[in-house]
Symmetry: C2
Subunit: 398 residues, 2 copies
């Protein structure tokens, strides 16, 4: 079938809306009409050309929601008309990862999704004038229609608003799950969140739900603008130009998500880890790095309390970068971990997250600062690069 999609022909060049041929799903595959897709920093990272595994031309996008259009042979868990969220982290329930019970990192289709193709024939289902276009993260949701493996499709409640729950395909679950699944934050804990973008705010939300006693948000000025857009309406526009006022506004917004205190590293001469250790009688119980900066990852570990502090790396660092610390930090009881998709098993737990949203137990709407269309996708990326949004949702058929 023919459809419209944003094609990244080359690294770092504007995406081009093209007429794309989308082949029918083969055995074990599902073709989905994508209705809404949000933008995430991982899309921007690969698009930038800095991702050594990035393949071009490709169709980016991995945080979306849609409706099943058709299914290939042997697909039993979904059928045309089902509302679904495509999941870049598959869940086959059969591989040693799925069976272990210790991880969500299913390995079933990884070799194909990493290579930008489908498992069945190691080929792409996308083409433009006969030229194959690579898949991305096994999802490629910047297309009105996409083809994914059946192990990558979460069937959700058809009553859920797809323009909102598309966010449950990546950023929000990553933050919530980092707290609930990876760190397992207990009631009464002191938590530090580095980076107050979507993922960081979702960490704060998750920590609040877990009963944390203090949630310390850490961010630098440049990020303030991002959050300020969120609830800009209640504040006089003039206030946005006053640095003192913007800090106050950021704090108000972050508090809605659970942040109880705000620390700007630029306000201190000491390293941020020392500032936090001093403010928490020895360190925090849990810290989360939600930026992807290896220096901040080190600070996040080192602000943890001796004896039990646990630090979780959530952000994705640029290729080739390394994290370092003195081993003494670990020998004296700190634990260093990481998380991918918040440790959630995608097909099993994304529908559960949708249910929690429907019961108003988790926020989703609050992370959406902008609504644009597929045709405006380059403008949406500009907004992200300026730090001018949290999540921007594209209406794929407007």
């Amino acid at each position: 079938m023919a459809t419209r999609a944003a094609v990244a022909w080359e690294p770092n060049k504007p995406l081009v809306i093209e007429d794309v041929q989308v082949a029918p799903p083969q055995a074990g595959e599902v073709r989905i009409q994508i209705l809404y897709s949000a933008l995430c920093h991982t899309d921007a990272y690969t698009w930038s050309g800095k991702d050594p595994e990035g393949l071009f031309p490709c169709i980016l996008g991995h945080e979306a929601a849609g409706i099943v259009e058709s299914v290939g042979e042997g697909v039993t868990e979904v059928q045309p008309g089902d509302h679904v969220i495509p999941c870049y982290q598959a869940e086959c329930r059969e591989c040693k990862f799925c069976k272990s019970g210790k991880t969500n990192l299913c390995g079933k289709v990884r070799s194909a999704t990493g290579a930008g193709v489908m498992m069945a024939d190691r080929k792409s289902r996308f083409s433009v004038n006969g030229k194959p276009i690579y898949h991305f993260m096994g999802t490629s949701t910047f297309s009105q229609y996409t083809v994914v493996h059946d192990v990558s499709v979460a069937k959700i409640d058809p009553k859920a608003p797809l323009d909102k729950v598309c966010l449950l395909g990546c950023g929000v679950p990553t933050g919530l799950g980092a707290v609930w699944n990876t760190a397992k934050v207990e009631s009464g804990s002191i938590v530090a969140v580095f980076g107050l973008g979507t993922v960081g705010l979702a960490v704060a939300e998750g920590a609040k739900a877990a009963g944390a006693s203090r949630i310390i948000g850490i961010d630098i000025d440049s990020k303030k603008k991002c959050c300020i857009n969120l609830f800009v309406r209640p504040y006089p526009v003039a206030d946005l130009f006053s640095s003192r006022a913007t800090l106050a506004i950021l704090m108000e917004i972050a508090k809605d998500f659970g942040v109880t205190e705000f620390v700007n590293p630029k306000d201190h001469d000491k390293p941020i880890q020392q500032v936090l250790v001093d403010q928490t009688d020895g360190g925090v119980d849990y810290s989360f790095e939600c930026i992807g900066n290896v220096s901040v990852m080190r600070a996040a570990l080192e602000c943890c309390h001796k004896g039990w502090g646990t630090s979780v790396i959530v952000g994705v660092a640029a290729s080739g970068q390394e994290v370092c610390t003195r081993p003494f930090q670990l020998v004296t009881g700190r634990v260093w971990k990481g998380t991918a998709f918040g440790g959630f098993k995608s097909r099993s737990q994304v529908p559960w997250l949708v249910e929690k949203y429907m019961k108003k137990e988790i926020k989703v709407d609050e992370y959406i600062t902008h609504n644009l269309t597929l045709a405006e996708i380059n403008k949406a990326f500009d907004l992200m690069h300026e730090g001018g949004c949290l999540r921007c949702v594209l209406n794929m058929h407007a």
Copy 2:
């Protein structure tokens, strides 16, 4: 009182057996007649002058057993005549560390033991001709009599042989506890142990007891000599000069402790982490670094299985050195931890370890390769530096 002790007057100069005055115990202190003391690499590290917190002159030693000689005011848990193991890791049962239940790193007397003095008056109890001699690790067991804080004394079964259970003051519990308390190795796990000295062999022993299915010992040639001394008698001396034979002997010895396979990194061109990943279908479930080498710490993390592999740093690295890895290693599910005294709560659990030894549930005798006297202490350190022993136990009153 006057006694004999080995004094380290200066870094890296031979220890001198001196007539030392040992002051009476003050409130909350215990004076112990040390009967046996073993040597550990941490003593050698501080003695070398490379430990930036090392203080001179001092009396080293921290792996020992003895009998309480006298107690200061307010000491209720031990009395003269009790058999005890002095513990460099205190356990006060009152501080926030002890109360947390998550760590054994009691903080009660740390500020004093780190400064080489006693809490009560921030002074030493040792002197030579009126010149104060610093304490070491709150134990200073290379003395026929020493003074320690009451929170650092584990009372043990008086029937236990002190020339053996002195080892339960450091190395053996560190290895066992790294497996049982810090990693919590499950039955069926694949375990890698880097460095087959006393601590590494104790890790293997602990992993065997935990039901590990494979225990892979990793060491380089230079360490073979160390282990070969252990059970040298069953083998013809000529065999010790044949490299092929020594490897076979090392494997036999390591197997007694639970090691099921042996890998010598020098036999491979690939990095050792890749060798292990290839030999274990994706990596080990648990790894332990028992050397104190930051490159090996990295290898130990990176040989762990994606999704759940946990690596525990047990060795003590030299001051200023750092561990590094790509954050991707953590984001894809590996966990980096460390352990001190194997996570055992000293006063509560050292007596329990002594009981396990008495019931023949853990090895101790098997780690002792040499028995010397206090007067021979410099010879004992030479043996250690040559890799010529596992544990050497000094008879302090011979």
